[in-house]
């Protein structure tokens, strides 16, 4: 706890501000669970609300000409189609890398020979422990699609990586995992390029 004359910088190893007393399950849905954590500790709220959703995955899949695979489909909640990287939710217990390969194949038909992790982000770390795992894939070969019912109007296109990054800058691509993975992939590509 912060006391007068006490420098917060000394508190780096401070244990948790708040301790969990009881977790109440408020809602257990198919895709969303909601909890109230009853807490104790300095200035703890009466309870802390948070949601659980599946971890997500997004893939920057590059072909031999450094073109990236983008998909576009209807996002019910946003009331419009959105352009984004292939990806989606992990199944229960599914390894994120396998989920990424599965989603890429299901949504676009592409299989990738080489895979590299681009790390993971926390989309809403105060409201959910969910992460979105990011991958860079290359060595693409075509295969069949396996889209689910909600993805039947999905379209696929391939654009140069620089063009996809420009679509981030112009606000066309806004899904957090897609935005981050594209910017990180562009950084990786720039580092790979020989100087001069």
């Amino acid at each position: 706890m912060l006391t007068p004359g006490h420098d917060a910088k000394d508190e780096q190893d401070e244990p948790e501000l708040w301790r969990l007393v009881e977790r109440r399950t408020v809602y257990e849905g198919r895709f969303v669970q909601l909890y109230q954590d009853v807490l104790e500790g300095p200035a703890a709220p009466e309870f802390y609300e948070h949601v659980r959703v599946a971890d997500g995955v997004r893939v920057v899949a590059l072909d031999a000409e450094d073109r990236v695979v983008l998909v576009e489909d209807q996002f019910y909640l946003q009331g419009r189609r959105m352009l984004h990287l292939p990806g989606g939710g992990t199944e229960t217990g599914e390894d994120p890398a396998l989920a990424a390969a599965r989603e890429l194949a299901e949504e676009t038909g592409w299989r990738a020979a080489s895979w590299q992790s681009l790390g993971a982000i926390h989309p809403l770390p105060t409201s959910s422990v969910a992460r979105t795992h990011l991958f860079l894939a290359a060595g693409l070969t075509p295969g069949p699609l396996h889209r689910d019912a909600a993805e039947q109007l999905m379209t696929v296109r391939q654009v140069p990586l620089a063009e996809a990054v420009a679509l981030v800058g112009s606000g066309v691509i806004t899904e957090a995992g897609s935005v981050t993975a594209l910017l990180l992939a562009a950084q990786t590509a720039a580092e790979r390029r020989p100087p001069g």
Copy 2:
């Protein structure tokens, strides 16, 4: 609806796949609201679960030496301290740009003379309409802090922008808005730099 022999690419102007019949409020908390949307349309689920949380804001605040202001504090839900950009949730009806200036001042004491939008991302577009609004701020002058109770152990540091970007690459900074804003700011800085 997709019919045999019909190219999905022709469906760009297709209206919504699903139509909202009724929105049920499952939970109305202080920070999180949860809804079930009853839908009709092809292959519509029985209902669609989604949550409402406040839009977020994140600020890349650069000083005259291109050093960026980072803050670190305890994220209860993640069970650890996280390093991220200044920012937080917008208040009801609050303009995101004003929220960003307010959060920067409250958390770090810094006031900025110039502000530029870096756009907005959708952290979890299938589960929430929430967005995180991103800003680039410069012309910093110091002022008093106004941290809330949960932020009393927050620490502030200033690091070169390139170092902050490296902290994204190494997985130290993972909050989606911070990651995106830092990568976009680095891109902006690179474009600003004279060639050669």
